[in-house]
Symmetry: C2
Subunit: 768 residues, 2 copies
């Protein structure tokens, strides 16, 4: 556990046979993409319904495309700046420096591409799901299309993630953790921006549409007279599809990166290969999972999805166990070049148990989230019942559900980390075991992405059906059922994503320690003499770091919620203006200007994502350069701990409110239009930015902050020692970061809480 | 920063002159009690209004008295168990062992006594404040009575706290940190139970009364036809007065304890005396502060209170600076027996700066909280405006206010800890500086308690006025104004209390390290060989500890909110039953059975406090024995960081909703009875358990967990080393703790979310 323990050794070289294995992994990754292509063809071949439905779908497609195009332009500029800045950070020579920047771009590009694909395909699929629901016996077809759409995205996510990692290993073997850091950082950074931006877009449109439509005008959701309807449907795609797909790709990439960085130190050459083999096996089982998902008659869609998840998880566990015992020896001395061959324990057993811990963790989270957010269990039923005593009790009971489920999820994740940690007395083998648990979790990502995509596709299909008026009776009922299932699967994905964040971040702490130790050794000082390097949790400066880390999670969540409020206020204002200036809209004789609301959402969400985005990148810079590497480590720990709880709390509170509303709408406690219904609508509106904006963005936030810290750690060490100019430079960096954060917060404050200002007043006047 | 650094040395002996100083401090403490007595006489001498008002006050007094009596019986049993258990924990000899248990009882007794006094006096004062408001020019008299009532409680809090600490120092000098731990633990444990129990009582009654009265029957707050009205007023006293007074006494005692434990190691004999001198000076300035508080005509009550706070804080800073330079030498070598006389730096300067940091921190928190929860600033105005778009936006904007203010408060507290830490390169002097910052904060406690007591007394005065119908016109307006001021002062107190928790807990980490190091040295092992001892934040087991610490804060908050929901459900049921069975109540011809609702609240709150209380005591035992001292340190850090943010978030969200409601009731956005009013009532109801149950209980929670950890640390070390039976014993302890927690949670789950079950359904039927 001492400082010198993790000092990096030269990485092992790969033999020809090893390279062969990596090539096979790369081929499996490409095969996943091919399977995705086959599924894609199948989805696109389905029927597209009436012309009216196609028109609506086209409007959604155009809106979503326009948003992503503008976001791409914004992110390209931002990416270019980071690309250049990365060159200035310390690295071992120019090869590593160039590789890091290059793979940063590749990671970022893949992340964006997956997001784009997810969104594009969802906008194609929703129309086809709605069309299928109209047909005789359409339930099974509709569900198959929705789930196979997810399959395409799932295959692409795992395919691209694994392919990227395999290429890095082929080119660099274990010599270039910094290149992997660049790859992971690119993926996480873009995913965070897509999550935040998409999350603001989708909820600004949704909340805005609900406030004017349901609450003020008393017209149903997705009513075509509401000018925000198209924007709402566009939002589902850019937020829940593009943002989510990029997020899970990032989870996949960063977890793999964490495992590969630790691999060669812990397990030698095999340590570089095994973390690739596990997800490759996961791809095989994901294909099985996607193809076997089929709801039997009378069976809930969620039951069918869960069944295929558990079956594919079980197959993964078996295949990974076999692979571990075939591929790994039974003692460390038989491994090819681990940094310490004298460690006790059996690598095959350690790897097997670690991977199984990860798979079991995924299963438990799936069950826990399903229990806390599903309509058929006690928690959501209780939230539903609390609607009888009004909105206040709905809010309080949803918050309780969120707190409680967050605790159980955090305890389960903590237990997994601790379980993996116990597998070896050697710190870096223990950290590698944690990373392998992450790889175990990854074997389920293919199915998870498929499950998640299911949600927004069904939601949008329902939107198209409602707006066109061309789907009714049984077809509408089918889509409502699929939508409720989607609410739960979306919450599950968020739970899995945050678990990968904790596992990856814990493992990356090993790299953090290595990075500091290398630099300290190079300079030749005793770190225990310097308070800024102390990693002891009882040191007050480290504790201050923990407090700041927890604070950043609260700040980020508050900013995200506020951004939604502001953007929603603008939407409310615009929709009211249209109703006011064009009475024909309410009569159904005039078509509202849908495009204007889409434009407002696009503009506002891209503007609003800047502040939380900058906070994520700059806060670790401020803490690291300002207080030192010890407090920065504390900061990361605080952010991981609080972030885990906050993310699950926000996701599950939101999920429970959404499904409590569905319960009431299904005729419980007075049904649609009752006071109870109104109380649950208030709950759902509160939950919207919780579950779809703030909550899911915390996962990439944690990874971005970890990778930024890892990248800057050597620079902090260099500037913490020696000449006083160094100290000045350190202070300058910290100060610039702080000023930029304060400036960004100030600018977004200046915009005011739009929803609480002019718009509302203006409309009260308008209504009077 | 190494392991051996804090190994305890024998404490210094006090000279005759030193003892003289301690005696003077004790006399000042007694003088504070005398001043309190004078103020008490003044309060009691005031007029008591009409017979009707006196009858109502009497009912409240009886209810509150009955509650505290039952609580005392419950707590006596619990205290006796802990008293016995404490004997089994390691200590240096029987003297220390007996002293620890004895002072545990004294701390517990003082804590309860202060709580009882605060409550008893408040129930006397509210009547007199209401009576004063009826008189010509009553505003000033009413405010003076309310504030002087606070003065009595403030003087008693600081008097008893300082007297207790002075006695320990006189008897034990610096030799018995364990005795001080016992004193602090007793104070914190009882305060936590009183906070939780009182918090559940007050909000169950308040929420229950509002749900039936305002929401269902449309009758105003404090309407005598509502059977829960008396219980609501009793609740203000047992929650906001008894709970708060005990809580601040505990903050005072534990902060002093933390300073005294570190004092002799860092500063020798002077280190034992200076932490007593600072609060003694604080008592003098608090007396000034209480006497100068007088609202000028046309000036808000808050302005007057703030002015006297700032004046007394300034005088404290000047007096403490003078004391430091008179009392402390300019180099460590001139101190009487510090553990390392060769440390660089000037003790007088270090002490001065540290104390001033604490005083400035109190001032900033006062300002920040006032800004975020006061009716005249932007945040609450924004929450008020958001009521125009409905309850959902009220909830979202209040949550944003809470998140944001929590971040700023946490950053300011973190900056104070870091600032104090920077004062010395020696870890234990730095920790002592943090503790001295806490002592600086304590100089303001007298005024703070006076400010806080102001809140419930005004609230109750308004209640009595409303129920009796004997105060109207200007008198009622005065009481409404005082009540709004009270909402903000209550939020401020919570901010100050949580700051003491962070400062005390950070300083107590020093004692934690000492406790472990002593034991490890005694046994003679190298702690860096044992993973369970690692304090490195990058070690996965420590990180798991941080996650569990954050989780406990969420769990505790969720349990507290749930307990309120359940108990409120029972109140709602009872009030509805009375309305249903006695139609005469609604006509005003039959008097409701107030006593039954008081009984229900008493019974339910005492039953409901068990689960969160057990969680606080048992969770550190489970983590410590289960995972080791390293993860337990991580656990405490996680709990401190997340607890700070959560406590401020809950307090300030709640405060902002409460005052946003007041804004609307003052005629903004449509005024009373409008949709906007209804939206803010929902916000206020959500905020009730946030700000008065869960939020304020987090402060004593953190202290209890810290002190439990400190008490068990040596036992954990002993059982972590050597024979395998020890490991078995450790596992058994952990398992028993976990089973008790799980059992307690299970039992409270079984009670069900009453509000969401029978009552609601039953009444829907009743109403139909």
């Amino acid at each position: 556990m001492s400082w010198q323990y993790l000092a990096a050794e030269g990485g092992p070289t790969l033999t020809g046979g090893d390279r062969g294995i990596v090539v096979v992994v790369a081929v499996i990754a490409l095969a996943a993409l091919a399977v995705g292509y086959v599924l894609l063809k199948e989805v696109l071949a389905a029927g597209q319904g009436t012309t009216k439905m196609q028109d609506i779908a086209k409007a959604v497609q155009e809106g979503a495309g326009a948003y992503l195009k503008r976001q791409r332009n914004t992110l390209t500029i931002f990416g270019a700046i980071v690309f250049v800045l990365l060159f200035f950070l310390p690295a071992d020579g120019w090869g590593e420096r160039i590789g890091r920047s290059l793979f940063f771009v590749i990671g970022a590009g893949f992340s964006f591409a997956i997001g784009y694909l997810g969104m594009w395909l969802a906008t194609q699929a929703n129309l086809r799901v709605a069309a299928a629901a109209r047909e005789q016996g359409g339930r099974e077809t509709a569900m198959r299309i929705a789930f196979r759409t997810g399959g395409v995205v799932g295959m692409s996510t795992v395919g691209l993630g694994l392919f990227g990692a395999a290429i890095v290993v082929l080119v660099y073997a274990g010599d270039a953790p910094k290149v992997l850091e660049g790859f992971g950082f690119g993926a996480a950074l873009i995913a965070m921006f897509m999550r935040v931006g998409g999350g603001i877009f989708t909820k600004a449109a949704d909340v805005g549409a609900d406030l004017v439509g349901k609450v003020e005008q008393g017209i149903p959701e997705d009513d075509p007279r509401n000018a925000a309807t198209i924007a709402d449907n566009v939002g589902d795609n850019v937020g829940d599809c593009a943002g989510m797909a990029a997020d899970l790709f990032e989870s996949y990439a960063v977890t793999l990166v964490a495992a590969l960085i630790l691999g060669s130190t812990a397990f030698g050459a095999q340590g570089l290969l095994f973390p690739l083999i596990v997800p490759a096996l996961g791809i095989i089982t994901a294909v099985i999972g996607v193809y076997i998902t089929r709801a039997k008659a009378g069976e809930s869609g969620l039951t069918a999805i869960n069944r295929s998840f558990y079956i594919s998880a079980l197959i993964s566990a078996i295949l990974c166990t076999a692979a571990a015992f075939i591929f790994l020896p039974s003692s460390f001395s038989e491994l090819d070049g681990p940094s310490d061959p004298s460690i006790g324990g059996n690598p095959a057993v350690i790897a097997t148990v670690a991977v199984i811990i990860g798979i079991v963790l995924a299963g438990i989270i799936l069950w826990l989230t399903g229990y806390f957010t599903g309509t058929e269990y006690k928690p959501v039923k209780d939230v539903g019942k609390s609607s009888l005593t009004g909105a206040a009790t709905v809010i309080l009971s949803g918050i309780s559900v969120g707190f409680e489920s967050a605790v159980y999820t955090a305890v389960v994740i903590g237990a997994s980390v601790y379980g993996a940690f116990l597998l070896s007395g050697s710190l870096f083998v223990a950290l590698f075991a944690v990373a392998l648990a992450g790889c175990g979790l990854l074997t389920t990502v293919g199915v998870i992405v498929a499950m998640d995509t299911f949600g927004p596709v069904s939601d949008n299909a329902q939107g198209i059906a409602e707006m066109s008026g061309d789907v009714d009776g049984e077809g509408a009922a089918i889509l409502t059922e699929l939508d409720a299932v989607g609410n739960t699967t979306k919450a599950i994905t968020k739970g899995i994503a945050i678990a990968t964040a904790v596992l990856a971040a814990t493992a990356l702490f090993g790299s953090y320690l290595t990075a500091i130790t290398e630099k300290v050794t190079e300079i030749g000082v005793d770190p225990s003499d310097i308070a800024a390097f102390s990693l002891s949790i009882v040191s007050p400066n480290v504790l201050v770091g923990v407090i700041l880390g927890a604070a950043v999670v609260f700040m980020f969540s508050g900013l995200a919620v506020n951004a939604v409020s502001r953007a929603a206020g603008a939407v409310v204002y615009e929709v009211r203006r249209q109703f006011h200036e064009n009475p024909g809209i309410m009569d159904g004789t005039v078509r509202p200007e849908y495009g204007r609301v889409v434009d407002i959402c696009t503009r506002d969400s891209l503007r609003e994502l800047a502040t939380p985005g900058l906070l994520a990148v700059l806060a670790p810079i401020a803490v690291g350069f300002g207080l030192g590497t010890g407090p920065l480590a504390g900061y990361l720990a605080g952010a991981i701990a609080t972030g885990t709880l906050m993310a699950v709390f926000l996701a599950n509170s939101g999920g429970s409110w959404d499904n409590a509303k569905k319960l009431v709408e299904d005729g419980n406690h007075g049904g649609k239009g009752s006071d109870a219904h109104e109380a649950t609508i208030i709950g759902d509106t509160v939950g919207d930015p919780f579950k779809d904006t703030a909550g899911p963005a915390i996962n990439p936030l944690i990874k971005v902050m970890n990778l930024v810290s890892l990248l800057i750690a050597p620079a902090i060490v260099t500037l913490s020692i020696g000449e006083s100019e160094n100290g000045v430079l350190r202070a300058v960096f910290a100060l610039v970061a702080i000023l930029l954060i304060v400036g960004a917060v100030f600018v977004s404050k200046r915009r005011g809480t739009a929803i609480a200002e002019n718009p509302a007043e203006a409309v009260t006047n308008g209504a009077a």
